[in-house]
Symmetry: D2
Subunit: 336 residues, 4 copies
């Protein structure tokens, strides 16, 4: 297969980004179909991918043929009705996180995938493709500074829209740490606890931000997560790892240093788009390459399920103020 | 008074350091007396302060006259029997932290001081004199990045002797953060909670290090403290402050940068002696200057009492795994 | 044209890198031909580009048809016999630096290109595509810190093979600064002067390294260049720019920070391959994109000629110890 | 001698700073006399040193007795008439740089000192007491990265008064690098050359700043010095050292890091007063301590002479644009 023909489902913020990415920066793939009910969005997307065909729904796209893989970029609550027909058609899928909004529906996706007899779903936890996290993962695996004892994570956004509410801190944002902590430690989240920080007075009424989330893995690594979506100064995602014999830190901005008006300065990111641009590109290039080999090369549907279950524990922890254990089904042998 | 004549009580590790400091780096003061029951230690100390006189106990030193102030550098459990006669003699005192080991005895010291009618006790929380913490305090006070919402502290030692045990993590080490968090926020610690991190396998049996301590101030600022005394790589005390509109960080090592063998490097501290050398000097110089004016210029006996009460909450939190509120007596008007 | 079919000339170190790059990381292009007299090298290259055809010389490749563009990756002294037939065939060319080894031959290439009536040659000064230099160029253009007054450049390699000799410091290495200083200042090099630094005793006999090169632009910007190819610690290319009101610096390594064994460290590059990996990719992607539009998007044959003439001044400066002015022919209107 | 009684000569900018320093931060010394013809300045100085006595000239101060040492803080052209009577009186002297304005007068001071039979003069090249330069000196001496091959120095001021003129770039400012390069390399300056950088248009008419100065030591180390006194952003003095096997850099600002308004920032110095505050203190404390032992502990009159002779070469280099060798008399055995 020389060129992977991709159907991109959803032409909103993330979908249109992915369309531009596939057309301009990904080798060996092209956008063959845009699946989007909104005609205006669809047409805007087609301007970036002139050879793609517009379909109002995934069933129509599959029926028309001519697609080798599906990239799902709609919000999480709309994933299941796309995943099921795509799985039924035996198509490889890259599904933006979350796999689905809760563990029950995620488990249904796992079961549907198992039923196909082949791993077809990769979930878009793109941080796993970030050079910083990969360096850290290597240091952990090498045991170069002894065993990993703890992690301090910070996830800071300059601002969020008014529609962003308390629960989204967990299911939309902390979900990234839930996955990456597991990726780094190779151990699922055992329990979640949420602590209030002093509320940022710039926030809209009823929105309590920032928070401190404590994640403990089954391997007993404690991860602190400052989840903070209205800190104005910039966009920052960083992790400090505490080992038996040393410390490592990733996520510090780099670039040109300036000396100006009494200060040494380096520009901070203002958006995930620049902070994780290379990670998004790497994720999709590796997915394209793996898909051509008939494999996935990243987090699986099972990873998506584990994240969904840990998010449920996180939401309960947020609501109750208690430490809440995550409940996981047994891992199907299929994913070993 | 041209030269402040100081009696240094205790000529162990800290005491002998202070003797060298006063004799060589502090303007307007000299060591007039060394109070130390151990003759060997006393003689070693006198070699650094040849004009000082040796006394086996504080009472003898006071009786002999010729001292203007007292610096107490013995372990905390021995402070009370020195403080009381020194207060009775109306002598200004710089007392190494902790004031005393528990809140009941600290309250006795407060009462004894109040009875003298004059503030005579300053407690040796020397971090308040560190340039980094002072910069951070200024930024908080200026409101330059909005209100302070949270703090992330790390207190890391390369190693501790075998005699160092679990409770010392709180009363010997975290006590510094208990004071500095209050100093920075201008608000006492409301509650303490302790979380286990994965245990460092290099530790001696029964010693569970590192830990994560959560301090909440009465003003609702949450401070996370990674307390870690066996991390080998070096000695590091740092604080990251989260404001409504920005972030600030103090405690990063500075000095010569080298490019060598594939790495850009900067030497990290290996001991509190270099990390806080300037803070110790500044603390004592300012105490000497203030003493000559009949004042104190640093944390008071009341600050010492507040720290002792918060440490008690911390110990209970360590032992029970629960969030524990600190109990404080009412502040005597004397300290307003 | 959907896919640009490229003939790569030379399958040595640089050529094989470019073949892997085009096949795996460049969108919209493929290696259609490998032009390489050495059969072993050619076969190794074809393993990376299985659909490419092997030709022993450029004439055969052109005669066979099926190529849209030529990438020349042989040493500089072999460029002219490839450039001339490629120009005659009207093929767009990306030619590794230097265009040719001296200004007379470079001028012949300029004339041959002018004779075709169209700009076909782009020269591989890839630093122009490095994010650091581009940030610096933007700051200069914006006048954000006032006018640029001077540059301090360092070009440091861990080591070079024994075959590397004194003149190569200028024509192989400083040639990069000759081009980038002109790119940043938008002004050609007016004069060159070379100063000895203390000789590195690790060097092979007769090789005098490092040296200090002073470049002055026609716009009066002075650039100092420390050219140093045996400094062991790593590979570093950096530039500090002095403006009327501030300073900017590019080229400092970034990545994971570690605290280990008494030192804060960040890994330094050990090779141009990692330092400029992204610049090489960007250069070729932009060349492919521009070529499809019938344009070039980078340094032209005229830039190659200017560099060759400044290198000649540099060699004379190296040999004589004098300040030497560069001599340039008038710029053909063709390049305006 | 318990307290060194110092006569401070000159109560201008530097002199009054030194008076405050000695009275408040230097152990074992006090200002016993202020020698200053201007009554207003003298009275302002006496407010900082209430026990000092005012004298209009050095002869009167010596005649009155009661002084153990002399600190000369007047401009260089006024040093000789103070140095001679102080030497004649056998008093130890700390003389602000330069020793005298030219090599002939400096040689007279050397001869006058030799005639006393004892080293009495220390010259105020305070950079030798800066922690950064001392770290670098240790690295050079240890040979830890191989031999030193070259130095890149930058000396940047935010601005200078209109009275500051071209020659002052050499005799007032570069003189610091002339001394410190010799201190670091343990080898006198062999030759000096000056290159124009592009002129800063903010400068007053006739003032050509910045310049690049090339210093070569007798041991063949080449030092580049960017001398730049109107760069607005701050005050910066830094040195990058090139070794056979690595690089080291001193002079980068440290302190609190902030993330604010899209930028990571650290405050830069704005004046030599903060940049070298600790160096000035250390210089005077060590001079006081050494003086009590009957020694000097810093640059000697001979160092002052060597600097004066190299400055003469530097001025000729500035005026002629040529490389100029420094001429030195033979070193008297007295200084070995």
């Amino acid at each position: 297969m020389s060129e992977l023909r991709i159907a991109v489902v959803g032409a909103g913020l993330m979908g249109s980004d992915h369309i531009i990415r596939i057309e301009n920066r990904i080798v060996g793939a092209s956008v063959a179909a845009v699946v989007e009910p909104d005609e205006g969005r669809a047409k805007a997307a087609l301007a970036e991918a002139p050879e793609a065909v517009w379909f109002p729904n995934i069933e129509a796209a599959i029926a028309a043929g001519g697609i080798d893989a599906v990239l799902i970029a709609t919000p999480g609550q709309f994933h299941e009705p796309v995943l099921l027909p795509a799985l039924a058609a035996g198509l490889p899928i890259l599904c933006e996180k979350p796999l689905t909004p809760d563990s029950a529906s995620s488990m249904r996706m796992v079961e549907a995938e198992v039923a196909t007899g082949k791993q077809l779903i990769q979930v878009g936890f793109m941080r796993r493709f970030d050079a910083g996290y990969q360096s850290l993962k290597e240091l952990i695996s090498s045991n170069g500074q002894g065993e990993l004892l703890g992690l301090h994570c910070a996830h800071r956004n300059p601002e969020v829209p008014e529609s962003y509410h308390n629960d989204m801190l967990i299911f939309d944002s902390v979900v990234h740490e839930i996955d990456i902590v597991r990726f780094l430690t190779d151990s699922p989240i055992k329990s979640v606890e949420v602590k209030a920080m002093k509320r940022n007075s710039n926030n809209h009424e009823g929105f309590n931000d920032p928070i401190l989330v404590l994640l403990t893995t089954q391997s007993d690594v404690l991860a602190t997560v400052e989840m903070n979506v209205s800190v104005k100064f910039g966009y920052q995602v960083k992790t400090e790892a505490v080992f038996e014999n040393g410390i490592a830190e990733i996520g510090r901005t780099s670039g040109m240093n300036t000396w100006f008006e009494g200060q040494i300065g380096t520009a901070e990111h203002m958006s995930f788009k620049t902070r994780f641009a290379a990670a998004y590109d790497a994720q999709i290039q590796r997915w394209v390459n793996a898909t051509k080999r008939g494999e996935i090369d990243g987090p699986s549907a099972w990873d998506g399920y584990l994240a969904a279950a840990a998010v449920e524990a996180g939401l309960e922890a947020l609501h109750t103020g208690q430490r809440v254990d995550a409940n996981y089904a047994s891992k199907p042998a299929f994913y070993n």
